[in-house]
């Protein structure tokens, strides 16, 4: 008897618990009332995320006119979190979307995000009007702008070399890919460090997955004139890796490797250790973003404080055998989109856009990128000078709040103070090289097109080509093997992707 009574009671108890819990969790999110707070979901890179009582939060809330509350997610796991959040019903008002993956595109096309194209074009939000329409176009889904993109430098790629080795050998900074080849040879064979031993090599390449995402190989291929992922040929778009220029570039890369001018572990080296061979005097050339040069200067400063300015040489992008082409970045890194589940009415949307507009003022840019003026930094002669005793806070600002920065209408925050004249000169050189290379930048003509087949199979398709490239360079496969991989790409969905991209190209151009 007792058991019969107790079991149902227990079940009932749990059942009612579940019921009340469900009722409680529905806190009225997504009503039509004007917003009182702005919930934003964003990734962070800093060691520790900011807290709710963060001074930047308070200052930005005041600027935006809405109480800003950011749900911080470690950058590493941002994708997983995004998808569970979209599945729930407690959806933030603004979400940083990192890329046009399948879940985002499908949600957007099903009406899950506001189409901002008209609103941004209206001019009602001057700080959200892009100064770079190509980039906004590239961030769109087939012409529909679902978010305010987060602007990035368009030119970042560069050649970084051991200046002291060049000086020892009486060589100049490279201007062409042939110069680079000769320097790589000399760094390997001519004892650039003068220690009498054969213990150096030319170029340092780390392991790199995917194609068209800024690898040293991509750079060399663009310089050879292969185009940037897609290129126009007779009125139609074709993948860059089907061009003869691409094959020519691959041969160049293979020769570098087979002659031993590249580190032996180029297929496996952890990119986190990219600086090490350069710093230790094993390799002398890095093809990567300009900011790495500044990073290396900082490390040499620790190692050899008296001569740190003798080690790092920085060159712009190189002229290839077929002309002068520069590799740009995508120009943006994801965008801030507005989910319809959180922001239900047009009035609310306008509130959100007004707030985002305020977050793009110079004042907000200084807050998000530098911190609190007079606290962790001061302004001297128009440049931001940081208080080193508050470095942790500064790091948190740049690693978290800066991730909310859009800067689509220009970036006007104070420039950073450079520690030495040498650093200042290097910084100026970077700006000059950027301006110079921008004129030759080869953009991806298909950046704004979303091909459904690529959205589902893109990662595998890219891997086919990226693997074949490395295998060819390593001598594991020959021209026929490379061609077989490209055929495999076509057969595994590449043909559909090409078709879809070209349909969009015809439709939207």
């Amino acid at each position: 008897m007792r058991s019969r009574k107790r079991i149902p009671v227990a079940i009932l108890a749990v059942g009612s618990l579940a019921l009340t819990a469900t009722a409680c969790s529905d806190d009225g999110a997504g009503s039509a009332e004007p917003l009182e707070s702005l919930d934003i979901m964003a990734p962070f890179f800093s060691a520790v995320p900011p807290e709710e009582d963060d001074p930047i939060d308070a200052a930005l809330s005041e600027l935006a006119g809405l109480d800003i509350s950011v749900q911080w997610v470690p950058n590493t796991d941002y994708g997983a979190k995004t998808n569970t959040v979209l599945a729930g019903d407690d959806i933030p008002d603004v979400m940083v979307i990192q890329g046009k993956d399948q879940a985002f595109v499908q949600t957007a096309e099903a009406g899950g995000f506001w189409d901002l194209t008209e609103y941004l074009a209206s001019g009602d939000y001057p700080n959200l009007v892009t100064e770079n329409p190509e980039v906004q176009e590239a961030s769109s889904v087939n012409g529909k702008v679902y978010g305010v993109y987060r602007a990035r430098d368009v030119i970042r790629s560069s050649v970084i070399l051991r200046q002291d080795w060049l000086d020892n050998l009486g060589l100049e900074l490279p201007e062409t890919t042939d110069d680079l080849y000769e320097i790589a040879r000399a760094f390997t064979e001519d004892d650039p460090d003068g220690n009498g031993e054969d213990d150096t090599y030319g170029m340092i390449n780390p392991m790199w997955g995917g194609i068209g995402n800024g690898s040293p190989y991509d750079a060399i291929e663009v310089w050879h004139g292969s185009g940037n992922l897609w290129t126009e040929e007779g009125g139609a778009l074709v993948p860059a890796f089907t061009t003869p220029e691409w094959s020519q570039a691959l041969e160049y890369e293979r020769d570098l490797v087979s002659n031993g001018y590249v580190n032996a572990d180029y297929a496996t080296m952890d990119p986190a250790t990219w600086n090490e061979p350069f710093l230790n005097g094993e390799g002398g050339i890095i093809l990567d973003v300009q900011s790495r040069a500044a990073q290396l200067v900082g490390l040499f400063k620790e190692q050899d404080p008296d001569n740190f300015d003798k080690y790092v040489g920085l060159a712009g992008q190189l002229e290839g055998p077929n002309g002068t082409f520069a590799m740009p970045t995508a120009g943006y890194s994801g965008f801030l989109a507005v989910p319809r589940a959180g922001v239900q009415t047009e009035e609310q949307l306008k509130q959100v856009l007004t707030a985002l507009n305020e977050l793009n003022t110079t004042e907000a840019q200084n807050l998000m990128n530098h911190g609190i003026e007079g606290d962790n930094f001061t302004v001297e002669d128009g440049v931001a000078v940081f208080d080193t005793s508050k470095q942790d806070f500064t790091d948190q600002v740049t690693g978290a709040w800066a991730q909310l920065g859009m800067n689509v209408a220009g970036y006007n925050a104070y420039p950073l103070q450079q520690p030495t004249e040498y650093d200042q000169a290097l910084y100026q050189l970077r700006l000059d090289l950027q301006a110079e290379d921008l004129a030759n930048a080869v953009f991806n003509p298909a950046a704004g097109f979303v091909s459904p087949t690529y959205t589902t199979n893109g990662a595998q398709l890219d891997t086919i080509i990226a693997d074949a490239r490395i295998q060819y360079i390593a001598g594991q496969i020959d021209e026929a093997g490379l061609q077989a991989a490209i055929d495999n790409w076509h057969a595994s969905g590449g043909d559909e992707v090409t078709q879809e991209i070209n349909d969009l190209y015809a439709e939207l151009n």
Partner: protein, 322 residues
């Protein structure tokens, strides 16, 4: 039942259980009321957190878009299963997965038992405890750390192990990129990381062994090896069998992180397994329906294997899991 019980039981003691006869539900409920009551929280747990979510697993048959919800998403039937099984890479994925699982089952797993037995034979208590503590430490390092340390050790030119192997065997292989070395490296990492940890469960089993048995065996003149063979091994045999059965159910789960981190363009032909494939084809792209479909497929295979090996174990008079 196992030999342990036979030894434990005093001679002449009556068998402790009468076979359950068919009775009416009501009498059962009364008779077992305490047991049912004890089990209730656990059963509720399984219903709430394990089975209720499975209702959501019907996204395997749909084109799930989070924004539309499970019910709002389009029903596509077996499309995802077909797509997976007709993938031209499927045979290669299966082969790679099975080889890695086989290495783990036939080499790593027995090594765990061997290490547990060796530890059990160690008489110096202080050393025993120290070694036990040391060997279980690697379990706490994440695969990220294990893989970066491996890269450090096998680095061409200055890696300590690369240098040593070159000196000892005259090899200058690029261990990290060579497809022939991929599986040995994966196995080595797994053995290093998890063998010590795996012994814990056997040592717990060994702790339950009646010391009197050993003493009685000594009096009977049994040698050391005989004691291990006739007392120690039988006493952990049920644990071994259960672990083995459960592991066969995981045969298609090689784990993602380790393999993903160890794979590169030059060894991908041997490194691609179901878990890495699903990650790139499904999870990274946010294609949850597809990855759920693959998960379901793996579950069915796992289930068949578990029931199969359990049946085999019963045939060999072992306790099994049911």
């Amino acid at each position: 039942m196992t030999t342990v019980l036979e030894v434990d039981r005093e001679p002449g003691a009556p068998p402790s259980r009468t076979p359950a006869r068919r009775r009416r539900l009501w009498t059962d409920a009364v008779r077992y009321r305490w047991l049912f009551l004890l089990m209730l929280p656990g059963v509720l747990y399984f219903v709430l957190f394990r089975f209720w979510p499975m209702y959501g697993a019907r996204i395997a048959f749909k084109n799930y878009i989070p924004f539309l919800g499970i019910d709002g998403s389009e029903w596509v039937g077996l499309t995802h299963f077909r797509e997976f099984l007709s993938n031209p890479d499927f045979p290669r994925l299966l082969e790679n997965t099975l080889i890695l699982a086989g290495l783990s089952l036939f080499i790593a797993f027995p090594l765990t038992i061997v290490l547990a037995l060796l530890l059990n034979e160690l008489r110096l208590q202080i050393l025993k405890r120290t070694v036990q503590t040391l060997v279980y430490i690697p379990h706490f390092l994440s695969w990220t750390v294990v893989v970066s340390i491996t890269a450090l050790l096998f680095a061409i030119g200055n890696g300590p192990l690369w240098t040593f192997l070159g000196w000892a065997f005259g090899t200058d292989a690029n261990f990290l990129a060579d497809p022939d070395w991929f599986r040995p490296l994966i196995l080595m990492q797994e053995v290093w990381k998890n063998t010590g940890w795996g012994t814990i469960i056997f040592l717990a089993a060994l702790a339950g062994v009646d010391q009197e048995q050993y003493e009685a065996a000594v009096i009977d003149g049994a040698g050391r090896w005989q004691r291990v063979w006739h007392i120690t091994i039988p006493s952990i045999l049920p644990t071994i069998v259960v672990l083995l059965i459960l592991q066969t159910g995981q045969i298609l789960n090689t784990g993602f992180e380790q393999i993903y981190l160890m794979s590169n363009s030059l060894n991908r032909t041997v490194a691609d397994v179901f878990d890495t494939y699903v990650y790139f084809a499904g999870i990274e792209q946010g294609a949850y329906s597809y990855s759920t479909a693959v998960g379901l497929f793996k579950a069915i295979v796992g289930l068949v294997l578990i029931f199969g090996t359990n049946w085999l174990a019963k045939r060999f008079n072992q306790q099994g899991i049911f």
